[in-house]
């Protein structure tokens, strides 16, 4: 271990300096080989980014994608939480259906695209199916874990006090599971976000060049790649996608801390 501690100031300045140097080298390299426009460059990315943001293109595409992420996420939760809770509380169900669920969970959501397109057509809904599929399993896993961790004695106490099964779910099971469900939600959202991009890319590949209006950022990226050939825009989209990922997760974490101050993660 090198002996010295890296000071707080250096910790911020050093990577910044390195980043600036790298960007500068990158920019120079692109200019020197006259590839501006053929290869992405820092200035190109900034320029493209400015144009795309001001023209509203990216906002439109992003809202399309996000809309579907949220709907898919909601569907995933609506299906996944009850299933997970059921499996977590009834061990026989767990033993019976665990292999099937594990098998289905192992299928990368994007693989369903051809079937989804067939069933739901090429407009956004096929992507929605993929997103919902991706979101459902983290909910199932975490909900079942949460249910299993809920203290059996609390349930027994509630029943001894005369609570019917539905009341038990409402007053004991659900509140006790919330922290784990939150974690599951964060994972599900991350999966959903990755899946929507993948699905839209796949759909975009199918319909590239057909002049249809762009439904989401994935299709936008494909169109940019194959039709408009704006490489700087591609990098810009990537950065935006990353930023949105980060904000979504950070937002959820903050929400969790606010709603459930006692829970750890």
């Amino acid at each position: 271990m090198s002996g010295s501690e890296v000071g707080r100031g250096a910790r911020v300045l050093l990577p910044l300096a390195v980043a600036l140097v790298l960007c500068a080298v990158w920019e120079v390299a692109v200019r020197m080989t006259h590839s501006h426009g053929l290869l992405p460059s820092p200035t190109g990315v900034v320029e493209s980014g400015a144009i795309l943001t001001s023209s509203g293109v990216i906002v439109e595409a992003m809202s399309g994608s996000l809309k579907r992420v949220l709907i898919g996420f909601a569907i995933g939760g609506a299906l996944g939480i009850p299933t997970g809770l059921a499996i977590g509380t009834v061990p026989a169900l767990d033993r019976a259906f665990r292999p099937v669920l594990d098998g289905l969970r192992s299928i990368a959501p994007i693989a369903w695209i051809p079937m989804a397109i067939l069933w739901l057509g090429v407009r956004g809904d096929a992507a929605l199916f993929v997103v919902a599929y991706a979101a459902v399993f983290p909910f199932i896993v975490n909900a079942s874990l949460a249910a299993r961790l809920v203290d059996r004695r609390l349930i027994a106490a509630a029943r001894a006090l005369g609570a019917g099964p539905w009341t038990v779910v409402r007053t004991v099971l659900l509140p006790g599971s919330i922290p784990m469900l939150f974690t599951g939600a964060r994972i599900a959202l991350a999966f959903a976000w990755a899946s929507i991009i993948a699905a839209e890319l796949a759909i975009g590949i199918k319909i590239a060049g057909q002049g249809r209006s762009v439904a989401g950022i994935g299709q936008l990226m494909v169109e940019t790649l194959y039709v408009r050939r704006d490489v700087d825009a591609l990098v810009f989209y990537m950065l935006v996608i990353g930023a949105v990922s980060f904000l979504i997760d950070a937002g959820l974490r903050r929400l969790q801390r606010w709603m459930l101050p006692w829970s750890d993660r």
Binding site: L14, A96, V100, S106, A111, P114, L118, I197
Partner: protein, 251 residues
């Protein structure tokens, strides 16, 4: 005995539901029945399936090993040099939210449509969790163990290889399990969107010809392969980490 029975019931239920859905849909292209999918599987097994699976496995192994190796090396350097760690940590944090999927168009640009795309994606997908997991593990190595090694006459190299590395293995495996799931998704997405070989790519191929029974068969294969990969990794983990007390490590 009942232990074996219940999963079978679950599977039977699933198959029954599937069959019912197929009958209700009535259209073998829309919803292929279990039987037709099975036949498709048999037909595929004799022709292109082994080649496709092999291609996907090659993509996965090459990309994953490269990503894991780089992740390990970077973590080792970051673990021994605070300056390097200070520089590379923010970069890692910056790139982490950008899922491998977002790289697909750029990857197609860089490598063209072909094997390069999925391999690159898997490389990227494996890199971060393994880097972060390994670095975290290195930082959490019990300093008493390191001191014990020093007091027994170990050189710096020996310490790194025979004390720090084994102590970090549980964290490395945690990172590996995590990254395998992401890498698998990246593999399929990469092959579908920008590949020219492998089981993911083959799914699109069948779809072009509306051979939906084969599509569904291939989808199931994707699931089976993913499950197999994780099971293998889990088995490897159990073997390598058999020195851990039962409560830790193997989930």
């Amino acid at each position: 005995m009942a232990r074996l029975f219940e999963p079978l019931i679950g599977i039977a239920c699933a198959l029954a539901a599937w069959e019912i859905a197929a009958r209700v849909a009535g259209n073998a292209t829309l919803v292929p029945s279990p039987a037709t999918v099975w036949n498709a599987l048999v037909a595929m097994r004799g022709s292109e399936l082994p080649r496709d699976i092999a291609a996907s496995i090659v993509h996965l192994v090459v990309g994953y090993v490269a990503g894991a190796a780089l992740g390990l090396v970077l973590a080792l350097v970051a673990g021994s040099s605070k300056w390097f760690a200070a520089v590379i940590d923010p970069f890692a944090e910056f790139l982490r939210p950008i899922s491998p999927i977002a790289w697909i168009p750029l990857a197609i640009l860089m490598f063209g449509v072909g094997g390069g795309v999925p391999v690159f994606l898997i490389f990227y997908a494996a890199l971060f969790p393994i880097f972060v997991g390994t670095l975290d593990g290195i930082r959490r190595v019990d300093p008493t163990l390191v001191n014990a090694g020093r007091a027994l006459g170990a050189s710096r190299a020996t310490l790194a290889l025979r004390v720090i590395f084994p102590a970090t293995l549980p964290s490395i495996f945690a990172g590996a399990r995590l990254s395998l799931g992401v890498a698998w998704m990246a593999l399929v997405a990469g092959e579908i969107v920008g590949g020219d070989a492998g089981i993911g790519w083959r799914i699109l191929w069948y779809q072009e010809f509306f051979q939906m029974d084969r599509v569904l068969a291939a989808i199931l294969i994707v699931g089976a392969l993913g499950l197999a990969a994780d099971t293998l990794l889990q088995a490897l983990q159990r073997r390598v980490l058999r020195w851990l007390p039962a409560s830790e490590g193997t989930r």
